[in-house]
């Protein structure tokens, strides 16, 4: 519908580098086509999440309760990671560049979720919500389905198994033509990443079904192994519709950029287990008990 305008795109791109995205920025019609409805929904949700957390913290503060600034910072950084993967230049490049897609995967499914989990949003919600809203939330957390979903092996299978299904079936190619499927895959990658980080760390939010540290560490090591094996097979055999060069660069990025997040997870699982804090090492809800 906008064809005569888009033909000017490449000319501007030549002397501007980012010309194409600048061009689309002015015309909402083409931008929605690029972002898709999922992109807009993600942007709105992110802004809401980014605003709600400090609002809750300041509500606590007015009541005279302290909340660690590091958690607020972690929340903001997590939102930015997720945002960078879903909206903006990286998300646009990810449509045709597998390496950019993989950078997005590390931000959306690994680093972003870890930072958000460390911000303990559920603890914050339980403290600030009125009791009649907080009680159902607590009940959901301790329900049997939550026990299954927050098992580290189940969460790991959802997360890494989901990736395996994405790249090893025709699903990845389909996400480029079906915007709804594209949005669903992004939502799954993020949700499963969050669930896995939470299940493996068993906190700082209340985790009533948390298994023992060796069990969580075993799930983590297994998930890291499967993630790395997947990266190597992507290097060897590109997913449907991805050129070999891009697949190789993307696979190496998946392997090496994922490693720092994996090491951080290992450290966070092992520290309270092997090197517990001297005094307050015995209480169950370490993260939530120490605040106030």
């Amino acid at each position: 519908m906008d064809r005569d305008r888009t033909t000017r795109g490449p000319v501007r791109r030549n002397h501007r580098g980012r010309g194409l995205s600048m061009h689309h920025h002015g015309h909402h019609g083409t931008e929605t086509a690029l972002l898709g409805p999922g992109g807009w929904a993600a942007a709105i949700l992110l802004v809401a999440a980014l605003a709600a957390y400090p609002a809750a913290v300041s509500a606590l503060y007015r009541r005279g309760t302290a909340w660690p600034a590091s958690r607020t910072a972690s929340w903001a950084a997590g939102c930015l990671c997720v945002g960078a993967a879903l909206v903006g230049p990286l998300a646009e490049r990810a449509h045709h560049d597998f390496t950019a897609h993989m950078a997005g995967h590390v931000l959306l499914g690994m680093l972003g979720p870890l930072l958000l989990v460390l911000a303990a949003p559920v603890t914050l919600a339980l403290r600030t919500l009125p009791v009649r809203a907080a009680r159902p939330l607590a009940r959901i957390l301790s329900s049997p389905p939550a026990a299954v979903l927050t098992d580290p092996f189940v969460a790991g299978a959802l997360s890494v198994g989901g990736l395996w299904a994405l790249y090893r079936t025709g699903l990845y190619a389909l996400t480029h033509t079906d915007p709804l499927l594209h949005a669903l895959v992004h939502a799954h990658v993020f949700a499963a990443g969050y669930l896995f980080a939470f299940a493996v760390l068993g906190g700082p939010d209340p985790a009533p079904h948390r298994p023992s540290p060796p069990w969580r560490a075993a799930a983590l090591v297994l998930a890291i192994a499967v993630h790395n094996i997947l990266a190597k097979t992507l290097y060897a055999a590109p997913p449907e519709g991805v050129p070999a060069e891009q697949a190789r660069a993307g696979a190496e990025l998946m392997y090496y950029a994922g490693a720092p997040v994996e090491i951080a997870l290992i450290f966070l699982v092992c520290r309270p287990w092997i090197l517990p804090r001297r005094r307050t090492s015995d209480g169950p809800g370490i993260g939530s008990a120490q605040v106030t």
């Binding site: 090591v221 192994a225 499967v226 094996i229 190597k232 090491i263 450290f267 092997i274």
Partner: protein
């Protein structure tokens, strides 16, 4: 084990050894990744002869090696806090662990499973011999030191038991 009596610091020989073995594994994997993959570019990220079993074994090896490194360093910190860190026992574990996993990588990964070779486009024999000889020396000296420190730990445990 989690709540030792305050009065006498326990020798913790086994924990020192375990921490050493874990760091030995971590060191081998780290040297493999940093020196041979990244700096020298001798190893390849993937080579076409790689078998599925080799891929799985390598994936588990590297995932576990990160865990081993982190867990070992935290164990050392915990031992030092208890003033129970023993350098000799830790070194015995480190040598044994490094030797064992270097040998595993050199024999099982490179030779049996054909994951990748040490270097490409050269005569492999001197490389393989050096690699595995280094591994064997590490492993043997580790086992020797292990025996020595275990005997010493047994003796000191006997004397602390008598009230030293």
């Amino acid at each position: 084990m989690s709540t030792p009596t305050r009065a006498q610091p326990r020798p913790r020989h086994g924990r020192n050894l375990t921490a050493g073995i874990l760091l030995g594994l971590g060191t081998v994997a780290f040297v493999d990744e940093v020196v041979f993959h990244q700096l020298l570019h001798w190893h390849h990220f993937y080579d076409l002869s790689t078998s599925d079993v080799g891929l799985v074994s390598d994936g588990l090896f590297h995932a576990f090696s990160w865990f081993a490194t982190v867990a070992s360093l935290l164990m050392v910190a915990a031992l030092r806090r208890e003033r129970a860190f023993r350098g000799a026992a830790f070194t015995a574990g480190w040598l044994t662990g490094a030797g064992f996993f270097q040998l595993y990588d050199g024999l099982v990964h490179h030779k049996v499973l054909g994951l990748h070779q040490i270097r490409y486009g050269v005569d492999l024999v001197p490389y393989d011999v050096t690699w595995n000889a280094v591994a064997a020396v590490l492993l043997v000296s580790g086992i020797v030191l292990w025996t020595v420190t275990a005997r010493r730990a047994g003796r000191s445990a006997a004397t602390t038991g008598a009230g030293a």
